[in-house]
């Protein structure tokens, strides 16, 4: 535990030092994250869980902070991605000359990282809620960095409302759960689990709402694309890679404390997983704003993680420990993997947006020649997020697929979870389409705007963190046995399963890793052989259908690329198409925002308008309200 607090202190010190020196900020935060990884890795490698209580009498009963395998796993995410984004942020915001505003942003980022680390290690309700609320506030302040833009302020406000709705639901959750418990530490809550009415139905439903809101599960995702697109890119990386994962952490923690869930909960999570996955990627396909597109992919990947959690919960419910193990291991692994490749994609996107001066995919193009290293990083992230070998996304999707298929081998209701495989397959194919669009239109072909022509490679301060993340993705992809083994350790805190299943999975993972490594090696060998062959090579312009004048505007556009898919999946894709004789344009809309949130908001406003008469602005009237309320309370409490 000492090392953990040393790490937090280093990160905080780094944040405070950002005013004076960007290099010092990098050094201290980098060192802090590295130190913080030590206890996490030690616990995951089989070390004893660490815990400590805050001494003395504190409100809300003992304040416990501890690192068990589940916390340790999420600490990997916090410190791993945190280090990369903090290193990147200095070059990204300062652009050569540090400003007071940028150093404030660095300070807030270090605060956010500390709060995130505390959220996933708090082992009692009160410190958890405190860390949770702090996290929400730092995140809001980070988000409104470019507060001169109306869109940013709106996204910030929406985020603030949503995150407090989630906090409110968490207050209700812990209040309900605390009633039968002796105190509010997680240990006491776990002991009180069986005493909850209806098998904890209210607690589980509240958890699904509050943590689902944080994680961005469809239909509770509506705040997420705005917030992630509005924040500076390295902050988006922390949001998408780490912060929404606290929702996943919360779901897993509640499930772990309750020791299982009724069948309806598992099925709900599984269905939400399919819906989030498919709709998330479908809506991503329609986006033209690169950062919004990536944000919708977070919705998709949260769906994939939920598929794992759903399979795991159902495995617990129906007493099939192997399915539970595979499901939770898949969910844990995909959480880490998504953190790595999504922050990689956001950071690479930030680099190219800064270089080319636009987030609109339709204005980019040809960046592969201008930013070759950023392109390699972005391509690696794309291969990973689509779930293709040889990178890490494949490994976690492979485990999740197996959890679902293994359920299909069994008897009883759990066999139906095999049908979710179709959803996962569809998500994979659509994600491939979406990233083919992004990579192809943004990086390949010819630039579609003068700014994109003039783009130049990002500096080393931004590229180094990118390639750290690429290395992490490659390591998990090529040597999956290590990561799968650790994920299995996390999963086995949910279900005490024999080593047989774990060994079987590790052996299979090793072979899958060999296939990936074989693919890399063979491609490298053949490509090398071909480049050395004495081939006659000529260069000619692409055939333009007989037109001599090769205009970049003649290239396929992102709208056209996505059009057949969007048409095929209407009305789910929710896109408005504008077609004239000479032009084609598509406008993405969010079905949940247009169909659910806006009407709800209007209804709420209507109700509030009716309440307006009680607001007069006269002090005497307000004092009488207070008196009446106190009298009513006294009467009720009698």
């Amino acid at each position: 535990m000492t090392l953990f607090f040393v790490a937090l202190a280093l990160v905080l010190a780094g944040g405070l030092a950002a005013r004076y020196s960007g290099a010092l900020f990098r050094l201290l935060v980098g060192a802090g994250c590295a130190v913080g990884l030590v206890p996490a890795v030690a616990v995951l490698a089989g070390g004893a869980p660490r815990r400590m209580s805050v001494p003395g009498h504190v409100p809300g009963g003992p304040w416990v902070i501890g690192i068990d395998p589940l916390s340790a796993w999420f600490l990997l995410v916090v410190f791993g991605v945190g280090a990369a984004t903090a290193l990147y942020g200095v070059s990204y915001l300062d652009r050569g000359r540090p400003s007071a505003r940028a150093s404030l942003e660095h300070l807030l980022l270090s605060f956010l990282l500390v709060s995130l680390a505390l959220v996933v290690t708090a082992a009692a309700a009160v410190p958890f809620l405190m860390a949770w609320e702090l996290m929400a506030i730092w995140a809001y302040l980070l988000l409104v960095y470019e507060s001169e833009s109306l869109a940013v302020r709106r996204a910030g406000l929406l985020y603030l409302i949503v995150t407090h709705t989630a906090t409110l639901a968490l207050f209700a959750l812990f209040a309900l759960w605390g009633m039968p418990a002796s105190d509010l530490s997680f240990g006491a809550l776990a002991a009180a689990g069986p005493a909850l009415p209806n098998g904890g139905a209210a607690v589980l439903a509240l958890a699904l709402f509050a943590f689902g809101l944080k994680a961005g599960v469809v239909p509770l995702h509506f705040w997420l694309p705005d917030a992630h697109a509005a924040a500076p890119s390295h902050v988006s990386a922390v949001f998408s890679g780490v912060m929404i994962k606290t929702g996943i952490y919360g779901l897993l923690r509640v499930l772990l404390l309750l020791g299982g869930a009724p069948a309806w909960w598992g099925w709900t999570v599984l269905c939400l997983g399919v819906v989030s996955g498919v709709l998330g990627v479908l809506w991503a396909l329609a986006q033209h704003d690169l950062k919004r597109l990536l944000a919708y992919h977070s919705v998709e990947n949260i769906g994939i993680i939920l598929l794992g959690i759903g399979a795991g919960a159902l495995g617990l419910t129906y007493h099939h420990p192997v399915v539970a193990l595979l499901g939770f291991a898949g969910a844990a692994l995909h959480t880490l993997n998504h953190a790595l490749f999504k922050s990689l994609l956001f950071l690479a996107a930030g680099a190219l947006i800064q270089a080319a001066g636009s987030r609109d995919i339709e204005h980019l193009g040809g960046l592969a020649r201008r930013m070759p290293l950023t392109w390699i990083a972005f391509l690696s992230g794309s291969i990973a997020i689509v779930g293709l070998p040889p990178l890490n996304g494949f490994v976690s999707e492979w485990v999740t697929f197996q959890a679902l298929l293994a359920g299909g081998l069994l008897g009883g209701p759990i066999r139906l979870e095999a049908l979710a495989v179709v959803g996962l397959a569809l998500v994979g194919a659509l994600a491939l389409a979406c990233f083919a669009k992004v990579c192809g239109i943004v990086f390949l072909g010819q630039p579609r705007s003068p700014d994109a022509w003039a783009a130049a490679e990002a500096g080393g301060g931004m590229l180094a963190p990118l390639f750290l993340l690429v290395l992490a993705c490659g390591f998990i992809g090529l040597a999956p046995a290590v990561a799968v083994g650790s994920a299995v350790r996390v999963a086995s805190s949910f279900t005490p399963v024999g080593g047989e299943a774990a060994r079987h999975l590790a052996a299979a993972a090793r072979l899958a890793g060999w296939v990936s490594a074989g693919a890399v090696l063979l491609v490298a060998l053949v490509a090398l052989g071909r480049s050395r062959s004495s081939l006659r090579r000529r260069r000619q312009p692409t055939w333009r259908c007989g037109y001599a004048y090769a205009e970049p505007r003649m290239q396929y556009s992102a709208s056209s690329f996505a059009a057949p898919l969007i048409a095929a999946y209407q009305p789910m894709s929710g896109v408005q198409v504008e077609r004239t004789l000479t032009s084609f344009r598509s406008h993405p809309t969010d079905l949940v925002v247009s169909g659910g949130v806006r009407p709800l908001w209007r209804g709420l406003r209507w109700v509030v308008e009716r309440l307006r008469p009680i607001q007069h602005g006269r002090l005497g009237l307000y004092l009488s309200y207070v008196v009446v309320t106190v009298i009513l309370l006294l009467l009720m409490a009698r």
Partner: protein, 303 residues
Amino acid sequence: MSGMPLGSLVLVLLLAPLLPGVATRTRALLTGRRGAPVRQLYSDLAKLWRKGVVYSTSTTWIFRLAPVVVLVTAILAACLLPLDGREAVVSFSGDLIAFAALLALGRFFLVLAGLDTGSSFEGMGASREVTFASFAEPALFLCFIALVRASGSLSLTGMLGGPLADAWPSAAPSLLMVAAALFAVLLAENSRVPVDDPATHLELTMIHEVIVLDHSGPDLALILYGGALKLALFGALLVGVLIPRANLAPAASLALLALGLVVVAALVGVVESVMARLRLDRVPQFLVAASALAFFAVVLLLW
């Protein structure tokens, strides 16, 4: 009796270019022409391999790497299939996911290479390729669910290399539906009629052919060979489902595989001569129908 996974892999690698020839020849014979010789693709490959190559000025290393990725992923996917009817070269739990993912990786690079040229035609083809793949992939996985359920195994070797023979008597209707759905997926994944027409030369209506429009020489040869191998893989999958060969002598098993592949290719040719290519917006319906068929198979097996 042990199988001979490597021997059968070599056989399939050698036999693959024969299959498009068989399909084309069947189509020619059924439409009253003599047609190109069955070994046409071998000659084409040999000729392309000796030629030089022209690269578009707008292309990058992706364009040169893609043909290699297409070839390597197809070969590795072949290593995961139990081609001799008993065991694959590499087999592990969940290898069926790796099989699909490897082929998807090849597709990803092929599509990127198409977009690398900056040509609208290739963009069009790329867009169509990923659209139809998004319908073919769920159909393929529905077939896999049915096979997993029927055989009780999570690996291709476990699925096709034995237990399926015991499942046939009880699950024949489901397995027949799976075979039909797999055949539809085969037609779509290999750009055959009714999804795509390899014989057409009107770029606006093509899918696969148009993505490789700018590839030439040995690059094109790699892609053509990779395509033929992919046809052989789906054919072998189909043969594996229809004719469990775990109890046959290795030689007989290999002979049956070769025969089965030729019959599948001929069937592709028959389909091409009796029906026209579907209008592009009808293709999803064709693949959804295949998915529905596989879905019914899954439902029958789950209940």
